[in-house]
Structure formats: C-alpha cells, structure tokens
C-alpha cells in the first residue's frame, strides 16, 4: 500500500509536467488544428535560456520569467513571420513547417550549447523530503506538482474569466464569425502560440532539474504530452489536465509493477486503445467530420 502511494506521488509529479505540455498542444490544436512539432524544442530552448541566465548569477525567478517570455516571443514570432505569410499553406504544409522549426531549433541548441548533458540548478532540493504517513515526498516533486497546479489555475482564470480568454475561445470555435464580430483573430492566434509555448517552457524548467538538460530533453515529454492530450480529448483543456495526470500515474504504476523498460511503450498503447474505444477522448466532445 505504501509502495502504491509512493508510485502515485511520483506519477502525479510527472503527470503535472505531461499536463502542462498537453495543455500547450491542446491550446494550439483547438484554435488552428495544427499539431506543433516544435513544441518540445521551443520548451527546451526556453530551458536553455534559463540555464544560461542562471549561469550568469541571475536570480532564479527572473531567469525563469525571462525564459518563459523568450518561449512566448518565439512561438508568436513563428506564427507571425512564417506560418501566416506562407503561400497556399495547407494543414499538412503547416504541420511540416513546425517540423522544420523543430529541426532548426534542435540544431541551434546543439550548436550553441552542445549535445552534452548539463545539470540544471534548482532552488528546490531532491533530497529534502516530507513524510505523508508512510509515503515520502521530495521537495522537488511537491514543487513540481504545486507549480503545475498554479499554472493550470492561472490558465483557467485567463481563459474562462477574462475578455482575452473569451476572444480565444471565440476564435477557436469559429474564426470567421469571430473576425466578423471585430475580434483581431491574427493577434489572438499569435497570443495562443505564445501562451502555448510559454506553458511548454514552464514544463521544461520544471523537468530539467530532475533529468539532465540536453537538446533532446523534451522529445519524450512531448510525445507523452500528446498521448495525454489524446487520452483526455484533444480539443478539451480540462481533458488535457486529466489526461496528463492519468498518464503520469498509469506510467508510474506500470513501471513499478510491470516493466520499467517498456514504460515508454505504454503511452502509445494508450493512444491506440483510446482511439479504438473512444476516439474523442475522456472529456472531448463527440467527434464529427465534415466534408
């Protein structure tokens, strides 16, 4: 029982990271039907920015804020400078362009910071632990879960309780109608790209102290984040959060009781299973296709 509790805590910590990544993916998918393959690389780049600033003795909070801002600017710039002006860009073409961006970013990171692993300093400690009954929680896991939840709360307030959030929902629902009502859809798209990228950056900064920082750090969490988004319903923000936590816990329990080596395969098994049984995901709306 204690062991199960231990796995649950570990699963919730990774789950909150998956949820953050999934939220970024879902935000973009909902508004423009584009799956952003550069999501992980933007996040890694943001983490590297924070890493460099920390190396120059910048305080942690400022470094992290700057890195999130960098991610947001990069995401918005990609939309404004490349995606929007593109000639006759089909959906396939847009997805391919995000793939190109992913390649460029990973190349830049290897060039600037090298392919080696770096230790990312964190104010939270991995060795200082709290005890919840028999279950041990490290300060790092607790910090990850709490920061994840706080960010999700901020996102919820932003989307459900502000005018900008209303505009984002309107654009996601029907771009043309939103434009006709005077909503600046392009700026909203750019904002969505920025917001999604910043969320990914936050996940990167939270993940980096646990694993080592290298240019491919976010590839695995990106795939898991996508699996979480599919599990929760790819057009549902609450679904992304639920899917993230579910996947994190499932993976942790699977690694503990069944097989550690094949825990990565579990995520893909879940994707295929979900699509066979309930293609719209746990919280997604029913899936209709139009010609």
């Amino acid at each position: 029982m204690t062991q199960l509790g231990q796995y649950l805590v570990g699963g919730l910590a990774t789950g909150s990271l998956y949820a953050l990544v999934a939220l970024g993916i879902v935000l973009l998918y909902r508004s423009s039907r584009v799956l952003n393959f550069a999501h992980g690389d933007v996040a890694t780049l943001a983490t590297f920015v924070a890493f460099t600033l920390l190396g120059r003795a910048v305080p942690f909070s400022i470094a992290v804020t700057a890195s999130l801002a960098a991610a947001a600017v990069l995401g918005a710039a990609f939309f404004f400078l490349i995606l929007r002006p593109a000639k006759e860009a089909t959906l396939l073409g847009k997805i391919v362009m995000t793939l190109g961006l992913a390649l460029v970013l990973s190349g830049v990171m290897q060039l600037v910071w090298g392919a080696d692993e770096h230790v990312f300093p964190s104010p939270l400690s991995d060795t200082r632990v709290y005890k919840l009954g028999q279950v041990v929680v490290s300060q790092m896991s607790l910090g990850t879960i709490v920061s994840g939840l706080v960010l999700m709360g901020i996102l919820y307030v932003l989307i459900q309780r502000t005018k900008v959030g209303l505009a984002m929902r309107a654009v996601a629902q029907n771009t043309v109608a939103a434009q006709a009502l005077g909503i600046p859809a392009r700026r909203i798209y750019a904002l969505t790209w920025g917001l999604a990228s910043a969320l990914g950056g936050a996940a990167g900064v939270l993940l980096a102290p646990v694993v080592y920082l290298d240019p491919f750090m976010m590839l695995d969490p990106f795939l898991k984040g996508f699996a979480a988004a599919v599990l929760g319903g790819i057009d549902s923000l609450p679904g992304a959060v639920l899917g993230g936590f579910l996947l994190g816990v499932a993976e942790s329990v699977f690694a503990g009781y069944v097989s550690f080596k094949f825990k990565t395969t579990l995520a893909f098994g879940i994707i295929i299973l979900v699509l066979m049984i309930r293609p719209e995901g746990v919280l997604g709306r029913e899936y209709h296709r139009r010609v």
């Binding site: 000639k87 992913a102 390649l103 060039l111 994707i271 699509l275």
Partner: protein
C-alpha cells in the same frame, strides 16, 4: 527544341515521350552503368559507396512519397521500416542461410507486413494522430532493437554476409552498386507506373478528400493499408541495401534523425512527385557528404530548407523545375 503534337489521349499518358525522351533514358542508364568504371580514372572511387547509399535513399524516398505525397498520410517513423528491412535481410542470410535475393524479398515482405500493421490504425487515425503513431513506431523499433539483444546483437552489432553476383573482375562494392542501382531504377519505374495507374489516382483522391473518395467508390481500408505496405516494402529493400553497405548493423544507424532526413528528402524534392523524390534523395545524400565540415549545421540547413520550401514553393525543387520548363516551352507567351 522540337515540339511533338499530341493527337491522342493515350499518347499523353506515355511515361517516356518521343525519341528524345528515350534517348535521355538510354543515356542516363548507360551513365549509371559506366559510373563504377569512370570513377577510378578521376580518382573518386569513394563516391561509389556514396552512390550505393544514394540508391538506398532514392528507394526510401520514392516509397515514402507514395505514402506522404500521394496518399497524404504522414510517416515520421520510416527509419523503423528501413531498420526492419535491414535486420530481416541480415538475419535471413546468416540464420537461415538464404541467398541474398531471397533474403531481400523476405525483408521487403516482412517490412510490408509491418507497414500493413501500422496502416491498420491509419484507418481510424488521421492527421496528427497518425503522425505521432508512426513517430512512436520508429522509436519503438529502435528501442526493441537495442533491448532485444538475441535478435539484433544489441550494441555489439550484427555482422552481415556479403552478397556476391559471382562475376569475376568486379569488386564487392561494384557488385553491390549494380544491384543497388538496379533496384533503385526498377523500383522508381514501378513507382512512376503506380502513381499514374488507377492505384495512384485512388491514393491522390484519398489525400485530397478521403470522404469524397469513399463516396466515389475508393475502398479506403484497402488503399490506405496498401499505401503503407508498399511504402514499407520499399523501405525494406532499401534497408537490405544499407545492411550490405554497412556490413555491420547497429540500431544507432536507424534513429529518429534518419526518419526526419527521409522526410526532408521528399519535402525538398517535391511532395507528390516521383521525380521529386529522386532529386531530393540525391541532393540530401550528396549534401552531407560535401558539408562534412559543417555536420552540426545539417539540422539547421534541413529545417530551414523545409520551412522555406513549404513557405515559398510547396511543390519543391521539382515543382520549380516544372514551372521553369513550362515557361520556356510556352515562351514567348
């Protein structure tokens, strides 16, 4: 430039048009056949090995374009199919003692079977779902090969028996060159013919609108899985060539970066054209070779080229060439 008047629809369908076209094909084939003998004279023998890899890349690119460019199903895991082909042919030769041609056919069949299996979820998965599923497939193949050491030799690697045509006077690389280039020419020819047959038209219909295609009587189940199986079979043959060229297989030769490189080939060459696949494959085989001093710049160059091509010329290098050609044919209009 001589212009031929096309009088019948059937004439327009010919793959090679007129005497000039046939002459061009004959010159190309003769040049490919002479290549191994010309190289030592100008002191560039090492290019022969690059040419073998180039032939393998052409085969993968043609197969991948049939899937991505024609059918519109993105695969980011093609290195997985290539790996399956490479290991299958290597194991069939060493464990079962099959001759190389039988092993290659077996490798193509095994690869095609995996392509069929990956194609099954493609019936329900569209767009991003499928892309991620194929990406996951590529990574899964790599992980299985690394962990299942009985099969792959693990990190120690798997030695591959060399093929032999039994022709005296040819070095083993020259023999491999003829087999590889012969396979590339044959499979490209099959690709051209598939693309302009009813199969190719069905695939294009699925790409443009699968619901409309289904309504007009295209069997989605059959053609989507068929596209995957054909594409994977191409990759399997290419894998067999790569196994022969490397002589020693390691999972590291079939990573995610390889899948991306194959993808970059068809995007840069031109999606939805066989000629574009060949151009892209040749370009991206030669480019890393001549830019070996800038190896760390390669991802940036590939990625930048993909973005630029999708933004400015979605039909790729071949599409641009067709436009230039049409302009000059119609000049001074």
């Amino acid at each position: 430039m001589s212009r031929t008047l096309i009088e019948r629809y059937e004439d327009d369908l010919f793959l090679v048009k007129g005497a000039a076209g046939w002459l061009g094909v004959a010159i190309l084939l003769a040049a490919l056949a002479m290549f191994p003998f010309l190289l030592p004279r100008i002191g560039l023998s090492y290019l022969l090995f690059i040419a073998v890899l180039g032939a393998a890349n052409v085969i993968v690119a043609v197969g991948l374009n049939l899937l991505v460019g024609y059918t519109g199903l993105i695969s980011l895991g093609h290195a997985g199919f290539v790996a399956i082909g490479a290991y299958a042919s290597g194991l069939l030769m060493s464990r079962l003692g099959l001759p190389w041609y039988a092993a290659w056919a077996g490798a193509a069949a095994i690869s095609a079977a995996f392509g069929f299996l990956v194609g099954l979820p493609a019936l329900r998965l569209t767009g991003p779902y499928l892309t991620i599923a194929t990406l996951g497939f590529g990574i899964a193949v790599y992980q299985v090969l690394t962990n299942w050491t009985d099969l792959s030799g693990g990190r120690m690697g798997l030695p591959v028996h060399q093929l032999s045509l039994g022709i005296a006077g040819l070095t083993s690389t020259q023999q491999l060159y003829y087999v590889a280039v012969g396979a590339a020419v044959l499979l490209s020819w099959i690709g051209y013919n598939l693309a302009r047959s009813h199969i190719g038209r069905a695939l294009v219909a699925i790409r443009d609108s699968d619901i409309a295609a289904e309504v007009t009587g295209v069997n989605l189940t059959w053609y989507k899985t068929l596209a995957f199986a054909i594409s994977a079979a191409y990759a399997g043959v290419a894998g067999s060539i790569i196994a022969q060229a490397l002589r020693h297989l390691e999972p590291q030769a079939f990573t995610f970066l390889e899948s991306i490189t194959y993808f970059a080939m068809i995007v840069i060459g031109g999606l939805g054209t066989i000629s574009g696949s060949i151009i892209g494959a040749v370009l991206l085989t030669l480019l890393p070779h001549y830019l070996s001093g800038f190896r760390q710049w390669l991802p940036i160059i590939y990625g930048g080229a993909i973005i630029l091509i999708m933004a400015l010329e979605p039909h790729g290098v071949y599409g641009r060439w067709v436009r230039v050609r049409t302009y000059f044919r119609a000049w001074p209009l």
